[in-house]
Assembly symmetry: C2
Homo-oligomer: 578 residues x 2
């Protein structure tokens, strides 16, 4: 893995692929690499859909190796949704496959000369780019079926659905899973719209004939990996909760603590929570012949995914994640798990971020476009997005635009990006992350829910402002580093709780690359990534005033704890003082 594939989509005669040495970007992976390239090569004031923006797709440092959990892949660009830098990452197979093909990153750059749509095929022999307008407006599932028919089933795909082609700000980039289904998504920030603006519909990867990436010290690597896996398996979250119920194990937990935003962030508990909980979901999946425990990529030992079948026992969608079940469920007053699963499928198929879409529908419900709780209306709204109706053009561009279009004040966004499934008043640590992350409102950027609610890796009172800034700071630093390794973020539960598991991770990196990385080195990497990102945003016009929650979170009390967001502005401004 020592080269970058650059595809100039504006070249004469159609997109032109050039493979260059990794050069100055050597040693960086995942988010560190996407943010470095975007920060250095993209003018911060450029139009996100214009020729100056770039889409960078990068596997992590350990992707493609025998290291467990190393299947994340990062997508970076200037975000059409936030106007700032964006890194959104995903599971699925392409990370491993792209890494084995030897690429540190694919960079889509330039401005297409016309509207021709292209597919890119990459295997051990090189890169082939073909115009294929027959793919136009194909949903992801149909698209991947077509690619499978054309290239066989040993492939992994990176693609956009109709939402990406229509350059919507909620458009995702889809990554296929182990069953070659487009179920894993880099959802946030409209990265799919940037791929759409480059007129690249799908990137098909085939690593046949490419070996697994070899560590510098195979024995040490194998040993460290074993300790790492044991650590994950012995932790209650990564060894029990996530495998059994998936991320949706959180529904009951968040609802119980009163931090589960319902009815467009109106209150912290939902009557229908039990009906859509991870426990109910797992039982339903098992009963119908789906799967409650499943991995999204080779080498996963947590197995937090699953397969959701409909009432007749046919595949409907992958197991919807907690944030999806919340976004399309509780936040919209919807408690029908089958309808939520259908919404998950539609989002995946049209290529839309489930969090942004659910938050948007809740805002639309507040605007009176549908009644809270009306699942069929919600499904219809997602179809509007997929077909690109005028209403769909509003909704597909996210909660902020929807609020503006319909004159709604209560729009839960930061930097234009919708908040995920944790209310910042009842979980104040995540509120600090929402407010200050360079990514906009993003739970994964510094998951203070761990210490505020789950009491993993520390214990900070969720309802009070005290200690949240330091908590979010440390988590944002750690996350920026983990997002650069290609490791699934869920390893953090064990890594933060168990020093020996953290050491095992370091040992894996050191054995693979022949390094002497310490915990401090990891912290330095995280700080370096965040600093690059914040520097880009500053050059794009972001200020401390953009590191704020919408003002109603400071005045509107949130039941059942009747609490407002209490972290002061001047303390938010200290998050990045290190």
């Amino acid at each position: 893995m020592d080269k970058i594939l650059r595809i100039d989509v504006g070249a004469d005669g159609g997109p032109k692929a050039t493979t260059v040495a990794v050069g100055e970007y050597a040693g960086l992976g995942g988010r560190a690499l996407t943010s470095a390239i975007v920060s250095k090569e993209v003018p911060p004031l450029c139009h996100p859909l214009g020729g100056e923006n770039k889409l960078v797709i990068a596997p992590g440092l350990l992707s493609g190796s025998a290291g467990s959990m190393s299947g994340r892949i990062s997508v970076g660009c200037k975000s059409p949704l936030t106007g700032g830098i964006k890194e959104s990452n995903s599971g699925g197979q392409p990370s491993q496959v792209l890494a084995r093909l030897g690429y540190n990153a694919i960079v889509l750059e330039g401005n297409p000369k016309d509207n021709t749509l292209y597919k890119v095929f990459i295997n051990k022999d090189g890169v082939k780019i073909t115009p294929d307008n027959s793919l136009r407006m194909l949903p992801n599932y149909d698209l991947i079926a077509k690619m499978k028919a054309e290239y066989g089933d040993k492939i992994a795909c990176i693609s956009i659905g109709p939402a990406g082609e229509m350059k919507m700000c909620a458009a995702s980039v889809a990554f296929t899973d182990m069953e070659l289904r487009p179920t894993r998504h880099a959802g946030r920030g409209g990265v799919g719209a940037v791929m759409g603006a480059k007129n690249i519909k799908v990137i098909v990867l085939d690593d046949s004939g490419m070996p697994i990436r070899a560590p510098k010290d195979p024995q040490k690597f194998q040993d460290a990996n074993k300790r790492f896996v044991n650590g994950l398996k012995s932790h209650p979250v990564t060894g029990q909760g996530l495998p059994a119920y998936g991320t949706n194990v959180l529904t009951n937990i968040l609802n119980e603590v009163g931090g589960y935003p319902t009815y467009n962030f109106k209150q912290g508990r939902f009557d229908g929570a039990a009906k859509i909980s991870g426990e109910t979901q797992a039982e339903t999946e098992t009963k119908r012949g789906g799967l409650a425990t499943h991995g999204c990529h080779r080498g996963c030992v947590i197995q937090c995914s699953g397969v959701y079948h409909d009432k007749d026992g046919h595949y409907l969608t992958k197991q919807p994640e907690y944030e999806t079940v919340w976004a399309h469920g509780g936040n919209c007053g919807i408690s029908d798990l089958d309808k939520i699963a259908m919404l998950d499928f539609l989002d995946d198929n049209y290529g839309i971020d489930t969090i942004e879409m659910g938050a948007t529908i809740a805002v639309a419900m507040e605007a009176g476009l549908a009644k809270f709780g009306d699942a069929d209306a919600a499904i219809q709204l997602v179809h509007e997005v997929g077909k690109g109706s005028h209403l769909g053009r509003i909704l597909g561009n996210g909660a902020a635009m929807t609020g503006k279009a319909f004159g709604v004040e209560r729009v839960p966004v930061v930097k234009g990006q919708a908040m995920p499934a944790y209310d910042p008043r009842a979980v104040q640590g995540i509120g600090v992350t929402y407010a200050t992350s360079p990514m906009g409102a993003d739970h994964t950027a510094g998951y203070a829910v761990a210490q505020n609610v789950l009491k993993v890796g520390g214990d900070v009172n969720a309802l009070k402002p005290e200690g949240q800034v330091e908590l979010s700071r440390n988590l944002q630093i750690a996350t920026a580093a983990i997002d650069s390794t290609g490791m699934c973020l869920f390893i953090a539960f064990a890594v933060l709780d168990q020093p020996e598991t953290f050491q095992a991770l370091l040992d894996m990196l050191n054995a693979f690359y022949g390094l002497n990385l310490t915990g401090d080195g990891v912290t330095e990497l995280g700080k370096k990534v965040l600093s690059m990102e914040r520097d880009f945003n500053a050059r794009a016009g972001f200020t401390p005033q953009h590191d704020r929650l919408p003002s109603y979170f400071k005045s509107e009390k949130f039941a059942p704890h009747n609490v407002t967001f209490g972290v002061k502005d001047e303390d938010l401004d200290k998050v990045f003082n290190w």
Copy 2:
């Protein structure tokens, strides 16, 4: 004139009016007053449609006096379109009437308790606020007819149309003219949406029984006013060009110099210019029994307005302004003056900014929603806004949202507000004003077209960057001061060219208030206003990066001069260094 009327629309039992002494705001009028109140009382990070925002309506320092040209009225708030501070001003009768009623300003504040719509009636006896849901979604013309039937024809009205009620970012606040028609608008920045968010449909003013405002030194005032009027009459622009052809005299001029943006700012000349020029317009008006020379308020000596009749000789609309004829005409490739007049009428009736609307339709045409040149399609698009269809919700929120909804890169906005009728590449001084004005792209904020093109008050080469920063700086300062007097900005042509006319203006202010204001004092006032506005914007999160044109203006050459915008970023940052 020594009191402020504050209406708390969130009071128990419905809106409550309180009249308070002008107090700390004494000595300020028009824009100086609206910006002072907004800057001091509105939290910069509040939601523009929420209870923390305020709508301030203020006549100028000389409004309601016998001073000529003193009929402008300012509307201020945090803008829903730009997110920054906004002052948008208008002609019409309400400025004079409100001033004679003794009010320095009306301030609409608070958050309505429910959806009830209200009308406000103000006369010498006080203020009466009445719920009236029968007014809901009435277009401005119907609304004013109803008010006339109810309150007689001695009134002046301030109102919103359906666009304001729907809280659209392109919604205007309408002011009636001398014929009690809602033809004058504070159009820019979505001020109508803020009035809509306060649930105030119309403010009816009746100054019966109130005397004309008396100067401290009547003789000196009368003498100064006479010199002022003579100065205006003797200047070729204010004494000949504007009276004869109205503002639309500019179509041929701008087209001739190649600075007339057509087809969504694609090129600087339009084949159909002659058909929609002020000369053709005046001839058409006269032939059909309309008026080519007319004032919009009592005491106007420039008489740049007019009355436009349809082919059958019936009133269609007031004489469309140059910017309107450009926005709905040349910029959309439309050269049918009757259709443009119909678009002007529809905008006034629905309560929409004609500049934003025309720019938006051009972006929609670039997105493929209609063909350039298709006037009937343009009319249909404005109807979509008026009825609030989903498409109308996009278009009614302006060019920036329309560009985002349909994935268009070429969107000519600064701070989210559409550029008016002068291309910043061919008229680089106005480009500096567009980029740096705290208001967003606004030609009136510093009308460098005067020196760049008309060669009034100086001569600076329009195609070169040299001298434009200093030019825009001086004009922005002068404009901020003039906008505070209540004087029509068109006096600037004579005032900038003729020192004795400028002195006459100073003498009027001094005689009226018993002051010793000098030219330096005017400059200080202008700087003070701009500083307040920029301070608000800084606290709202604006940075130098927001004082930029969209990047394509720096790379896309503009015919016929094949020029790009050449003023450097670091020079733009010097505009407010004084």
